[in-house]
Structures are given as C-alpha cells and as structure tokens.
C-alpha cells in the first residue's frame, strides 16, 4: 500500500518536472508564463492529443478571470498533471490512422487526390487553416501524381517521430 503511494508520488514528481521542462522552453520571458497560443503546442509535445474543441475548453480553464493572453505555470501545472495521470487525450495509434484514410478512400485506390484531401481537411470536421493545409500538402503530396499515398505518408511520419 505504502509502496504504491510512493510510486504514485514519484510518478507525480516526475510529471511535474517533465511539465516544467516543456513549459520553460516556451517561457521566453522567464517569468513563468507562456503565450496562450503556444499552450496547444506544449500540451501536444507532452504526448497528448486533444481535439481543437477539447483544447479550447482547456484554455478556457487555464486562462485568468480577465484573459491576459498569457497562461501562468501555477495554473497549468495541476491541470496538466491530472491530464497525464488520467492518461487523457491519448494519441492516435497508427492502425486507426490508416483506417481513417481508408474510409475516406471510398474507391479503395490506395491514395487520395490532392483535391479530395483539401476538401476533406478544410471543409469538414475541425477544418484546417491554410497554413496547416499547406504544411500537410508539402510533405504528403507526390508532385508527379498530385496525390497522397497515405500508407507511405504515415510510415514516413512515424519514422520521423521516432
């Protein structure tokens, strides 16, 4: 019993350090605050994958009564620790991602055309910004066929992350 409590305390301490590290990298002023626009990046860099909607809610929780445009570490730490402890917003496994592409590839060709991809990503779900769309295209699209072979794309991204 005591052992387990110890282990949990150590886990929490470790999470705290990890969260602090990730936060500090974006704390450009060294005053324990980060720009609210970087919170999504920080949370995701810690391995979590909230949707845009979930992120929006989180930011609302983290902001001051009167939003200043900055998030303070004191507020961020407990919220983020709980997210990590509860293992919320788990990342998407590779096979689920592959199946998602396959669903969109109704004709089962093994690829999506550039136009199809743009249409899906910018018109449905939580639409991409222009910047996000351009970045995905620059890495994913094969310029000769003007299409994305999603299986290759996924493999490439997975390798890059590791």
């Amino acid at each position: 019993m005591a052992d387990e409590k110890d282990r949990e305390e150590t886990a929490v301490a470790e999470f705290h350090k990890k969260i602090k590290e990730a936060f500090e990298v974006f704390d450009h002023e060294s005053n324990n605050t980060v720009d609210v626009r970087e919170i999504g990046t920080i949370i995701r860099s810690l391995g979590c994958c909230p949707s845009e909607g979930e992120l929006h809610d989180l930011i609302a929780e983290l902001e001051e009564e009167e939003p200043t445009g900055y998030i303070r570490f004191e507020k961020f730490l407990p919220v983020m620790t709980e997210i990590l402890l509860e293992r919320r917003y788990r990342p998407i496994p590779e096979d689920v991602l592959l199946r998602a592409f396959e669903v969109l590839d109704t004709a089962k060709r093994g690829f999506l055309t550039k136009d199809e991809l743009i249409k899906y990503m910018t018109e449905e779900g939580e639409p991409f910004s222009q910047e996000e769309m351009e970045e995905m295209l620059s890495a994913a699209i094969d310029p000769e066929s003007n299409s994305i072979n999603y299986k290759d794309y996924i493999s490439m991204m997975v390798i890059d992350e590791n």
Partner: protein, 655 residues
C-alpha cells in the same frame, strides 16, 4: 428503400466525419510536436552560445593568475618584443599604407579615396562576386574610419522626418547575405536613407571582414547618415579565436596591422544612438544604475575589452557580484603587462556602465539581476526600463544582442524592442532577420526576411530534422568534452552498478555537470538509450562518438581535457602570440600549459602533453603552430543508429 439509403448516407457521412477528425487530430498533434522540437533545438543553440560566452569571460581569472606566475619566464622576451612593437607603432598610417603596393595583377576592387557612393557599389558587386579586397584598401578604410570615428560623440543624435525615416538593424555577425538582402529590400544608405547598425557586425558568420568593410565604407561616404554602435563582439579579445572570426584570406598579409587597427577602431565606436531625443539605441540594454550623463562624458576608447576589467587601487574583490573578478590587462598588441595604468583604462564604475550597455538582456521579471547566462551585464525588468526611461526623458529602447525567431521582439509593454538582423543564425531556418523603420510621430514599422536556400522549400518536418540534428550534434560534442565528469556523476548515482539510471537522476547529472538549463527529459530519447522501464543506459551516449587522438598513445582523459578547453587555449595562445605569427615557442607552450592545468586543477600527466606538443613541432625549430595543435583534437561522429531497446545486445558490457 429510401429510408435505408438516407440512413446509410448519414452513417457513411458520420464515419467519414470521424475519419476526418481522426486525421486532423493526429496531424495537429504531429505538427505541434514538430514545433516543440524546433523550439528545443533553438534552446540548445542559445544555451550553448551563452555558456561559451561565459566561459570566455571566465578567462579573466586565468589571465590574472597567468600574470602573477608567468612574468619571470618571459621577462626578457617581453622587453624585446616591446622594442620591435614600438617601431611599428611609430609608423603612422600614411607611412605604413604607402608602403603597400597593389600589384597590377590584382583583380579585386580598387577604391578611390576620398570615397564616394560609387565605391560602395563597387565593393558590393565585388563581394557578390566573392572577390577579396586587397590589404592596402582594407587598412586604408580602417584607418580612415578610425580617424572619423574619433570625432564622433559617445552617443550620436539623429532626427527623423516623414521624408527621412531611419532604419535600425541589429546583429549581423558576419552574415553578408543578410546585409545584401537588407540593402536590396530597403535601399542603399544615403542622405535620405539613414541607417543605424546596432553592433555585432562581426564574428560567427563567414564574412565578418566583408560586412565590416561595407559598413565602414558606407560610413566614410555618409558619416552623418550611417551610424555604427559598438556591440559586445566589437571587442578584440572576444575575437581572439581569430581564425574563426576573420577569414584567413584577409590576414595572410599585413594581418597584424589589420588586427591592431581593428582593435583600436572598435574602441572608438560610439556606445549608442539617440533618435528624436526619445529613442535610445544600444546593443545590449541597461541596468538599474545606468547613467546616461556619465556615459556621455566618459572616454569610450579606454574601454578596451570586457575581458580586461580595470584594477582597483585598493584591491576590493567582494564589491561586485555582478561582474567578473578583477584581472590583468593585456594590451592591444597582445603584450602581457602589469595591470592597467589608470590613464589607459576606464575607472571601474565607468567600465561597468559600458558593460551593462553592451551585455544586458531584458526579462519579464522585475528588478535587476546579474546576467548569469552570459556572465556579463544584467537582466533588467520592466520596472527598471520605466525608471531609466523616465529618468532621462526617453520613450523607448531599441536593442539587439539576442537572436529572436521572428527577427524582432517587443517587450516591457512596448518600451523595449529587440532587433536582430542575422537570419538563419544558428542553423538553416532557425530564425528570421528583421529591421525597423522609425519616423517621429508614427509607430515603428518592422520588416522581416530570411536568406533563402534550397532547404527552405523543404517540408517542415525535414527542416526541423535538420535543425534538430545540428543542435543534438553540438550538444553531444559538449557531452563528450565532459565525458569523464559525466561518467563519474552517473556512477556515483548508480549504486548497484547496473549501468542504468532513472531518467530523473540522469537529467540531474546532465544539468549539474554541463551547466545547461535544458529540457533533459524531453531530449533524452535523442541523446541516450532508454529501456522499457524508462531507465536510461547512461553509457550509450558515448558510443558512436569519440574525440580523435592525435597520437595513439595519448590517454583519453588528456585528449578529452584538451578538447574541452580548446577554445580557451586558443585565446590564450593568441594572446601570447605577440607577432600574430600563429606560432609560439615550445618553452612558452610548456609554461602556459603548466599554468593552465594548475589553475584549472587538471589532473593531467604533463609529460603526455609535452609529447604531443613535440609532435607538433614538425620542423624542429622549437616552435609550435598552435592552430594545428588545437585542430588535432576534434570529435568524430560515427553513423548514428539508436538501437531499439528490444534489440539491445544484453551481453554487451559497458566499459
């Protein structure tokens, strides 16, 4: 039938919506992690840059020690070289420069004095064509610039108007392409297009001399409209790693005279600029004690170098927690002599004022603290900014000194602007460059740019990879230079001698030994192998990387030490090398090494060092080319493959 189809349709669209959401979610997570990796890489570059600057400043202490112990060895030689020195010193510009002939075969640009804007164009074209300016012209430009700078006050005053905006540029650090880009976008300097270049024109980039020449020539043509402020790198001691600062092609002939003149020129650069009586432009920043009235009055040319603090009459070592300890003076010509005669150097409190201006950084935290990152100047908060601006009836400070991803940054509620003009400073794509245009009555306008290369058209993940690999590489080189200390620390924590440590203990060791405040946990997967339980195999960092040994028998500890201190040694050797020949005598080398190792408490077998040094004396004439000596210690990176934990060969024993 109809209901079925529509419910199928709805189901399909729901499935496809879920699929789209999955892909978007995944991509955003991936993209965010890329941005985080990019930021980590930048943090690594910056930490190491500042740590290196700090190391250099610490040399101050060594120079004190050296003077006290070195004098008796070199006394005769010092006196001898003093004689030869003074003869050359006596030769003033005209005599010296007139002695240099420019051969007919010289294909490079020929400047015509007095200079005109045609010479600016000529020089720009020549440098674009990668030509070298002949030493005669280099010297003439430097002499003339120095002469003219002497007439400038410590702070130049500028007035703007709607038809005459002033453009302020930040650090260029020898990056010629950025200067070309600025002139292309914003026009050449002229009577109606004034510029302020806010220090750090040289050092780090490949074309320090070219950048300096263009700026000096422009200054000579438009002395009232091209303003040069001194930066912390316009300091001859900061540039004693001269093979890294000025390209060898400029120093091959008349290198000594060029460097001497440069050293003096730097001291004559104005400390700052004041625009429209309300904007202060200085390289670093301010401190809570900044006194502009004092700064206006002091004799700025007596500020030789940050590494040469003035000696107090009554040796008071405890008063300044802010600045490096008191030390020795090493004169502009490399002579080591007794600590500064008061007539040649600034009094201590004035010296500190200038250091603050050249080295400080703004921070969000209120108050004024020693700048522990750099080892000089301070960190100043928004309250300090307000106080000083109010005291001297100013509205804003424009400064440089720090690389910013967007090329510029505004802080302290709009009262402090950082402007940095060297794009891709750390690595391809690390940051943009920027300049700011000012006109009284209107808001400052910022312009950003980036010197493009083919890599800029690569997708984001490749650009991030490049930067990350570069950052990790220099971090690993840092680690290997402290290998013994790191292993010692790891083993101390590893009671069970398992070769493994929990990440937190590994991170603790890394931070305390390397002295770098980095996100170690996030970086761990790049630096070391981690097993399934999350434990670090701490020896794995040292596997695919080693320091090349100049001779087989040299022991690893020695090699590591020499590699680690090579920058310091280079500076020290250059300081001793009074005739800038690149050679020092074996005797000097031995004496120097002995002093160095005793001062830094290095437990090194001196006979081994001597053996290596002897090897470097290739023509047996008793002198060593120390550049070659130091080049002999470099890091070799083997092809890096991080083996996955499952595949680890369990039989592999760590040494």
């Amino acid at each position: 039938m109809g209901c079925n189809t529509s419910s199928t349709r709805i189901k399909n669209s729901q499935t496809s919506l879920r699929a789209v959401l999955i892909i978007q979610n995944w991509f955003r997570g991936y993209r965010a992690r890329l941005k985080a990796r990019q930021q980590y890489a930048l943090t690594i570059f910056q930490s190491i840059e500042y740590a290196d600057e700090q190391d250099q400043i610490q040399l101050c202490n060594f120079f004190t020690f050296m003077l006290e112990n070195y004098k008796h060895i070199r006394k005769e030689e010092i006196e001898l070289s003093q004689l030869t020195e003074s003869k050359l010193d006596m030769m003033d510009k005209q005599d010296y420069v007139d002695l240099i002939d420019v051969p007919d075969s010289y294909q490079g640009p020929r400047l015509q004095f007095p200079l005109t804007c045609a010479d600016i164009d000529l020089l720009l074209e020549a440098f674009k064509g990668k030509q070298i300016l002949h030493a005669r012209y280099v010297l003439e430009v430097l002499f003339e610039t120095k002469k003219l700078l002497k007439q400038m006050p410590n702070f130049t005053q500028i007035q703007t108007s709607p038809s005459k905006e002033v453009t302020v540029c930040g650090d260029l650090h020898g990056k010629l392409d950025d200067l070309f880009l600025i002139f292309y976008k914003n026009g050449l300097p002229s009577g109606s297009n004034p510029y302020v270049f806010n220090g750090d024109f040289v050092d780090r980039g490949r074309n320090s001399m070219e950048v300096l020449m263009i700026l000096c020539v422009s200054f000579l043509v438009y002395p009232n409209d091209l303003h040069l402020n001194r930066g912390n790198h316009e300091d001859y001691m900061m540039n004693l790693r001269k093979n890294k600062t000025y390209s060898i092609s400029y120093l091959q002939i008349h290198g000594k005279k060029i460097l001497q003149t440069l050293e003096e020129l730097y001291t004559w650069l104005p400390i700052g600029t004041i625009i429209d009586n309300e904007i202060l432009v200085v390289h670093g920043g301010i401190s809570e004690t900044t006194d502009l009235n004092l700064l206006h009055r002091l004799e700025r040319n007596k500020m030789k170098s940050v590494l040469m603090p003035p000696k107090e009459i009554n040796k008071d070592y405890n008063t300044d927690s802010k600045h490096s300890k008191l030390g020795v003076t090493i004169s502009a010509h490399g002579r080591i002599k007794a600590s500064g005669l008061s007539s040649e150097h600034l009094p201590k409190h004035e010296w500190e004022q200038v250091i603050d201006i050249l080295w400080s950084d703004p921070r969000g935290k209120k108050g004024c603290f020693p700048n522990t990152g750099r080892g000089g100047g301070c960190y100043f908060g928004p309250d300090i900014t307000s106080k000083i601006l109010n005291k001297f009836q100013l509205k804003m400070i424009i400064r440089s000194h720090e690389c910013k991803p967007e090329g510029y940054e505004i802080c302290h509620g709009g009262k402090v602007v950082t402007i940095f003009s060297a794009s891709n400073y750390y690595e391809e794509d690390s940051n943009r460059g920027a300049y700011v245009k000012l006109c009284s009555g209107t808001n400052p306008r910022f312009f950003q740019y980036q010197v493009t290369d083919a890599t800029c058209f690569q997708p984001l993940h490749q650009r991030v990879s490049t930067m990350e690999n570069s950052a990790i590489k220099i971090l690993r080189e840092r680690m290997i230079s402290r290998k013994s200390d790191l292993i010692h620390a790891f083993q101390h924590q590893d009671r069970r001698k398992s070769g493994k440590l929990p990440v937190s203990q590994w991170a603790f060791c890394m931070e305390s030994i390397l002295g770098l405040n980095l996100p170690w946990r996030s970086l761990s997967s790049n630096l070391v192998i981690i097993d399934q339980n999350g434990n670090v195999e701490y020896m794995s960092s040292f596997r695919n990387i080693h320091i090349e040994k100049p001779i087989k028998e040299a022991n690893s500890a020695l090699v590591e030490t020499l590699y680690r201190y090579r920058s310091d040694l280079e500076i020290i050797f250059n300081a001793i090398d009074t005739d800038h020949s690149g050679l020092i005598s074996m005797e000097e080398f031995h004496a120097m090494w002995k002093l160095f190792s005793s001062h830094y408490n290095l437990h090194i077998d001196n006979s081994q060092v001597n053996k290596i040094a002897n090897m470097m004396d290739l023509n047996r004439d008793g002198s060593i080319d120390f550049t070659e000596f130091l080049k002999a210690f470099y890091v070799v990176h083997k092809y890096e493959t991080m083996v996955k934990p499952e595949a680890t060969n369990l039989a592999e024993q760590h040494k």
